[in-house]
Assembly symmetry: C2
Homo-oligomer: 414 residues x 2
């Protein structure tokens, strides 16, 4: 079908969906979740085709890993839908209600956005996360997946449509657009009359492409150049635990740290131990000149390194004179994602949380917790590093807008 | 001073401002409000220069009216600041707080955006509205005014800076950039490191220019093609009162109506009376073919007319078969601003409010109430017709974002 025709179907289905009951939407999600499990053999078989093609096309092992499904991952996807079902309804909430002096009642209520388009790379679980969050929040969803996941996505969307056909919702609320030429994507990005929000989920290239061409509002998940600052009051065990976890538990994700800042008064004590722990995990260390004087075999970090999101077993280390210098460094080089301080000075904890400009600011905990599921949101469609509308994990509450309902008895303005 | 230098000053001042107390910000606003009154003679004298230049440059009388200040308008501007002072602090609010299963405390709190840049046309009152709303919400503000208001804006900003110099806030929190060439504006729109939000306040041309060049998030106040739908259950007096008020009380503003939709069963009864009332106010009527059969001397409305924001004593009238047709017309031709139904059928009222996709949906009241002051927000920096972040009047609550503060005791992710 023609792309614009699909968008029109989504828009028209979204109008009915916005009036559907919470119960009907939850029931549809439950049917979808079950259908995924029923269809497991077919989905896994189709996924194998993508994997084989991916190998032929020399996709990296990291990409192949994200792309590949197995029984456990598929139950995880189904389980995520169940977690979204368990969340409260984000729509129809009365945010505020008051009376105008002339007597009209004014209500500010949460309502669905309409049609959400998710453009994403080869991760089949995004398909189900996007669908569950969108439908739960009363939005139709347009899925524009990667060409590398075409077989998997088609099989998953087929299961979703089978689930929907048994529900009270129209199957049109989920539109799948297979990867086509670039011009076709630009058509979507310009369809202001049919799509209300674009969410690119993938690397910086995808995000920049979307921002360049979109005439529709975009919530972009940016990269994460995250930091851990080790204050002079930090305790050793916590410091080492958090640093190693934030760097190595899953280095390829956006909420892993890329730089460790250490207060000068504690540097000579903590850095050698940190070096041992990091090297045990095969982490390559780059450092400032002061770091180089404390631990050996450390390459000098360049100005460019401080901006870098390594997404790898690699970390840059900088010795700072004060918490102020640490905060300034973070606000300059960070991407406003997740930042953490290890400290036992409550005034430093407060200062750090107040002055660091980021979506999530941690005290004595790993940055790895920035995640929709960890935050208890059921799932997420990415993590926003922008400040408007959605900051941090993008989940149900970020997929609604509000409107004002004003009820009068003939009032006019004088 | 160089524009980028001014933006840097604003960014750096915004960091301190975000930590200032509510009391200090209110005190600064009060000093600014007083300083406006102290400086009244100078401001009015400078405003005269703009008016004289405007006449020479053949500005329209509507533009000259918006540009011109007098003692009453100046007290109004000062009074608006006092209304903003009376509003609650939008920052530091705990939106949500909960515990992670591992024991960390997670708080979602409201925080200032940082630096807001308002680009606006020749309306000096926007200068003080923007400053009061920005400072109250803990944001620094960059004012980029129109060349036609340069003398007035400079005099007003001087007064604002004098007020700030007596306060505990830095004068750098308000930066005024006089109108320069287009290239200079583009520089601002690309300064992602120094500006967090752009608000264009003016016509569609300004908005489109900003949307085209901005790399910074934009909240755009779009035009208002607003409608009044007269249901078959509408009562006559209310209908006429609301129609006349919404069309003629101030036809040049965005929340005035441009189209009246009338149910076919009531059309022959209500349209002749409406015609008399509208003609008394010198309103030109265009209509569909059915309208033409009921009232005479009505030009045929073209497809283009239904999209038009006349901003003038002109209205298009269409007879519809049902409330569904009215809603469909509004969702197709409207700009998602303000829409109203006159009805005494509660199920129609509900259906209209649910299905019309707009910032403000009225039952039995004039659309002219869509306004920050009327809504009790103190002031506004425009009315947003987009759905992300801000919808309807843009006031204090729309000028903040949120961040998550996570406090742990060494928690790591397994």
């Amino acid at each position: 079908m023609d792309t614009i025709e699909q968008l029109k179907l989504a828009k028209s289905a979204s109008r009915k969906l916005s009036k559907s009951s919470y119960k009907d939407r939850n029931e549809a999600l439950d049917l979808i979740s079950k259908e995924l499990i029923f269809s497991k053999e077919r989905i896994l078989a189709e996924n194998k085709k993508d994997i084989e093609l991916g190998k032929k096309n020399n996709l990296s092992s990291a990409l192949l890993d994200r792309l590949s499904l197995n029984e456990k991952r598929l139950s995880g996807m189904s389980g995520s839908i169940e977690k979204v079902i368990a969340q409260p309804d984000p729509t129809g909430k009365i945010i505020k209600t008051w009376k105008h002096p002339l007597g009209m009642n004014i209500q500010q209520i949460s309502v669905p956005l309409g049609v959400i388009c998710v453009i994403y790379e080869a991760r089949p679980n995004v398909t189900t996360d996007a669908v569950s969050l969108a439908l739960k929040s009363g939005n139709a969803v347009v899925l524009r997946g990667s060409q590398h996941a075409t077989y998997s996505n088609k099989a998953i969307v087929d299961a979703i449509h089978r689930g929907l056909s048994k529900s009270k919702l129209s199957s049109d609320v989920v539109q799948f657009i297979s990867a086509k030429e670039r011009e076709e994507s630009i058509k979507i990005l310009e369809a202001v009359n049919y799509v209300d929000l674009i969410i690119p989920r993938g690397g910086e290239d995808l995000k920049n492409f979307v921002l360049k061409y979109s005439k529709i509002p975009v919530i972009g998940a940016g990269g994460g150049t995250c930091h851990l600052y080790i204050d002079d009051s930090a305790k050793e065990k916590e410091t080492l635990d958090i640093a190693i976890n934030a760097k190595t538990q899953r280095p390829g994700v956006c909420n892993a740290i890329e730089t460790i800042l250490v207060h000068k008064d504690i540097a000579s004590q903590v850095l050698p131990k940190l070096e041992v722990s990091l090297k045990l995990k095969n982490v390559e260390i780059l450092g400032c000149d002061k770091t180089q004087k404390i631990i050996t075999n450390v390459k000098l970090a360049t100005e460019e390194d401080w901006y870098k999101e390594y997404l790898d077993l690699k970390v840059s280390v900088k010795v700072v004179d004060s918490i102020e210098e640490a905060i300034e460094h973070i606000n300059k080089y960070g991407t406003k994602h997740s930042e953490s301080i290890v400290t036992h000075d409550t005034s430093h904890a407060k200062q750090f949380q107040e002055e660091v400009d980021a979506a999530c600011v941690y005290v004595n905990a790993s940055t790895r917790f920035t995640d929709g599921e960890e935050f208890g949101f059921g799932a997420e469609i990415g993590i926003s590093t922008q400040k408007l509308h959605a900051r941090g994990p993008i989940a149900l509450e970020q997929l609604v807008t509000y409107k004002y309902l004003i009820n009068g008895e003939g009032q006019i303005r004088s």
